[in-house]
Structure formats: structure tokens, C-alpha cells
Symmetry: C2
Subunit: 323 residues, 2 copies
């Protein structure tokens, strides 16, 4: 069995060797730039780890794994335009480094490069791999659409939020696992269980993200604490707080939410409200529920426990991280 | 053999039956809107006409034909954002009717819907159909990139212009024909000949476009005469005029090109310059050269002449049109 570290090293080399046309520079340089921004390459790692549960040779899964990583980075490129973000991983976003037209077009090209890599899946797997990939791609668009719509709404329920997260971020993790499993030779049952593992892991991961933003350690978090609070981001914590706050708490929360720009004392005050309302525990409980469901799905995959160690390790790292 | 009219009727019904998800409305409504804007559905017609050269039953080619039409409309959607166009076929563009974020995201979804339709190609054709489709998609991005770069440059050669047109518009026509041929059972030689027919037809078609803008009949053209001249669009006519103008003509042309907003007398003056320099004839000769090459490629396709009638008819219509 390959370790997570071996797989990440393999993927780092593979990403460097991604072949892109040279001309026109203006089209492909932003694609290269985006891929070079790094990242932990979690999604392609999930493809290879899932494949490795069922097959010693993960080589047939490398191209589709790269395809999913390229696709993921394409979504970040276009999301940054839509969110008007200036910085990604400490570097200027593509529309800032180049311009918006370039970012739109290079993103479009990147989505097709991703497709070309998916198309290198083994021929007998191709129809279902492409079906899963394109379906996932549409679900991610749906999630992003809901995310954008929620920004404009005052009331968003916890169910709506979790569904948006499922579509926007979890289905990619889940599809990565399912595709890797198929290529490794898994039966449908195991592939489905790995998909469910991915969905639950993705939901737990986002809830962890919501918690870290408020309760993380700024020295390790990598981002300023309370960024979500400052801009009124509708996280699970905020949604639960709005649901539970009554009387003076509700009035105070509404006052802080009246503006979405940083203001003195807002982060401390809203965090204190969260503490009073107990939403940290509600969020942690929900996160642990999804994590347990993820672990249960993985437990039911019909390969020996020792083979599942690297996936368990990766899931644990995602859950126990401080940044 | 099906007639062009039968094929266009079949396609009109097929486009209406394109199944899209309902939710979220905000994502899929712009996709439906874009497809509903109409058009002559030339590209999917080419798929079915090419298929019909080799097979009586064109049904297996319908889904890929729709995929190419959906893809074409996706490129228009994103191009309109990049060009900041307000109107498409007499209707507001998607970013005007909704907003830019929606236009980017719905376009992304539309590109994936197109992929899903391409993936319905017959299984034995799937690898090469997808290879051709994704390669074409990247070439179209490359052509659009060159088009955007040329706007910012003063000097563009005729060769550069024609290569940009080949990528931006001709390869889609060519790929439509090639894919249709493959699905119909054509050998590689005939499929390649049909591809060449499409490339040459596409180049001739764009040169016709350039001519119509200046020399068309405004009553039938559907657009104001001289729009390209007003905004200094680097058409084949302008490129040849810049190459050939000397002395006073060169000075006069440079004066008119100093501004890209409509100005009194510009269209008449530049048209007169074109007449003096003989660029209309140069453009018509080039167009006819490509058209002859197209016809020659089609002649070499190894099916009987009577089967090629509808394709010849369509090519002729594209060349003899007044709008």
C-alpha cells in the first residue's frame, strides 16, 4: 500500500508534468500559474488512495486524479472572479495578475484541460467516470449558485446551508473517491460507500472550517480569526446563533449584522454571543456526527482494515487540523 | 437522405427537449434562455448531414450534435461578457438580463451540459469524439485569446487573422462534420476530408462576413452597414488596406483609425479607400479560394454525388447569403 506521503510526492511530480500548449501564452500562462499555487492536492490523493484499496497499481488513476485537481483549481479561478477576491494562497488572483477577460477564458480552457485528463481513464471505465465527473461539475455549479444566492438572503436554514456545502465542496471529494475505487476495480457497493465517506468527510470538513475561523489559534490558522464574523458570512455557527437568539441576544446580533465591514469589537461580541448560545457545541456535535458517519462508511468498505489506514489517517488530519 | 429542412426541424424539436435540471433556477434559467435565442442551428445540422452521408439513421448523432450546439452557445455567452455586449439576437445578453457572476457560472454549467451530450456518442466512438471535442474547445479558446490580443495590437497580418478565424470559428464547423462522419461509419480519410471542408467553409464564411459588413445591402443585412469600420475591427479588408495603402491613402487611413467611435463620414471614407485599394476584390478572391478548396474536399469524399447535395446546398447558402 502506498502511504499518503508517497502519493502526494507522486502527485506533485505529476502536476509539474501537466502538459499544456505553449501558445498563446496569454491563455495558458494563467492555467500554469493557477496550478503552481500549490495546495495539499487532497482531491487527487483521495483518487489514488481509493484506487489503492483495490489495486496495487494506481497508475491508471493518475490522469483522472490530475483531472480532478485541475478541475478543482478551475473552480477556484472562476470563484475568485465572482467573489472579487484579490489574493489566493498569498498570491494575486488571476484576474488581478492579468485581467478579468483572461481569467474567464483561461478558466474555460482549464475546465477543458481537466476534461481531457478525465478522458484518459481506462476505456472500460470511461462512460461512468465521465458521467460522474460531469454530474459532479454541475452539482458544484449548483452549490456555488446557492452560495451566491444565500449572500443576498437574510434567512438561510441549517439544512439549506449543509446542502449548499454538500454540492459546492463535498461532492468533489466524494466523486474523487468513487472514481478512484472504480478504476481500482471496486464493486458498486464499495464505490458507493467511499462516495458516502467523501460526502460526510466534506461536510465535517466545512464545519471544522467554520469553527476554526472563530475558535482557531491565529498563530497556526493562517488567516485572521473572525473573518467570517466580520463579513457576516452565513456559517453554521451564525445560522444556529440566529435560530437560537431571543430577546436582547437577538437584538444585539441583529445590530452587529447590520454592517458587513470590520468594526471594533464585533468579533469579540459575536463570539461571546456564540458562547452564550452554545452554538460552538452544536457545530462540533454536527461535525462529529458527519465524521462518525464517514468513518462508518469507510468501515463498511470490504477490504481489510490495514488497507484503510492511509484514508483514515487523511480523514483524521482533516478533522484534527488547526488551520 | 434527409433534407436540410428535415434536419433543421428535427434539431429544433431536439433543442426544445434538452433536459436541464430545474434547481437552482438562477443557474439553469440563463442556460435555457441562451438556447432559446434561436439561430439556424448550422453546427448540429453539419453533424447530422455528415452522418447521413454514410448512414441512413442519424439518431446516434443527435446527442453529440446537440452537444456542439450547446457548446457553441456557451462560447457566445462567455464571449458576450468578455466583449461587454449588451444584445444578442435582439435580446439582452445574459450578464445584462441577470448579472456577470450568473453569466460566468451559468456558462460554466453550460459547458458541462454540452460535455454530457457529447458523452452520449456511441460507446465505440466515445474516445475519439471526446478527444476531438475537447481539443476543438481548447482551439476555440486559443482563437478567442488571439482575437482579444489583436484588439490591443496595431499591426496584425493577414496570416495571423486567418489563423485566429480558423481557431475561433472554423474548427467547430470542421469538428461537427468529422464527428458526424465518424458516427455514420466513415473511414478516417473521408472524415478528414469533411474536416477540411469545414475548415475551408469556415474561413470563407468569415471573409463573407467581413465583406457583407461593408458591401452588404443594409435592408437584408440585419446589421448597420460599416459597423466593423466604425470600431476599427481588424477584418481582412482593413488588414489588406493597411498593407497596401501608401502616401496620402496611408495617412488618411491612419487618421480615420485614430478613433474607434462612430464619426461622421468615416464609413463612407474608409469604404472609398477600400475601393481605391482594391481590397474588396482581394477579399472576394480569398473567399472564393477557400470555397473552392472546400468544394474540392467535399468532392473527394467517397460517397455518391447525390448524397452530397444537401451539404453542397448548405455551403452555397452560407456563401451566397446577403445577411
Amino acid at each position: 500500500m502506498k502511504t499518503l506521503e508517497e502519493i502526494q510526492a507522486l502527485l506533485a511530480r505529476a502536476v509539474e508534468q501537466v502538459e499544456l500548449e505553449r501558445e498563446p501564452q496569454g491563455l495558458y500562462a494563467p492555467v500554469r500559474y493557477t496550478l503552481s499555487l500549490g495546495g495539499k492536492r487532497v482531491r487527487p490523493a483521495l483518487v489514488l488512495l481509493a484506487c489503492n484499496l483495490f489495486a496495487d497499481d494506481v497508475t491508471p488513476a493518475v490522469a483522472p486524479a490530475l483531472g480532478l485537481e485541475i478541475f478543482h483549481n478551475f473552480t477556484l479561478l472562476h470563484d475568485d472572479i465572482m467573489d472579487k477576491a484579490d489574493v489566493r494562497r498569498g498570491h494575486p488572483t488571476v484576474h488581478r495578475k492579468w485581467d478579468e477577460k483572461t481569467a474567464i477564458l483561461s478558466g474555460d480552457a482549464m475546465q477543458m484541460v481537466a476534461c481531457r485528463y478525465m478522458c484518459q481513464a481506462p476505456a472500460h471505465d470511461l462512460p461512468r467516470v465521465l458521467d460522474a465527473f460531469t454530474r459532479m461539475a454541475l452539482e458544484i455549479c449548483e452549490g456555488q449558485q446557492y452560495d451566491m444566492e444565500f449572500e443576498r438572503r437574510t434567512e438561510v436554514t441549517a439544512e439549506e446551508y449543509l446542502e449548499m456545502i454538500r454540492l459546492k465542496t463535498a461532492v468533489l471529494l466524494a466523486t474523487a473517491l468513487r472514481i478512484g475505487a472504480w478504476i481500482g476495480g471496486a464493486g458498486d457497493g464499495d464505490a458507493d460507500r467511499l462516495y458516502d465517506f467523501g460526502i460526510n468527510l466534506g461536510l465535517a470538513f466545512q464545519l471544522k472550517d467554520d469553527l476554526l475561523d472563530v475558535y482557531g489559534d491565529e498563530r497556526t490558522f493562517g488567516k485572521k480569526i473572525g473573518g467570517d464574523i466580520s463579513c457576516n458570512k452565513k456559517t453554521y455557527l451564525l445560522i444556529q446563533a440566529r435560530r437560537l437568539a431571543t430577546g436582547d441576544d437577538a437584538a444585539e446580533l441583529a445590530r452587529w449584522l447590520a454592517t458587513d465591514v470590520p468594526s471594533h469589537g464585533k468579533i469579540e461580541a459575536v463570539t461571546a454571543l456564540y458562547d452564550r448560545l452554545g452554538v460552538r457545541r452544536i457545530c462540533e456535535d454536527k461535525m462529529e456526527q458527519y465524521y462518525r458517519q464517514a468513518v462508518a462508511s469507510l468501515d463498511n468498505v470490504s477490504v481489510s482494515d490495514d488497507k484503510k489506514q492511509e484514508l483514515r489517517k487523511l480523514a483524521g488530519k482533516l478533522m484534527l487540523r488547526n488551520e
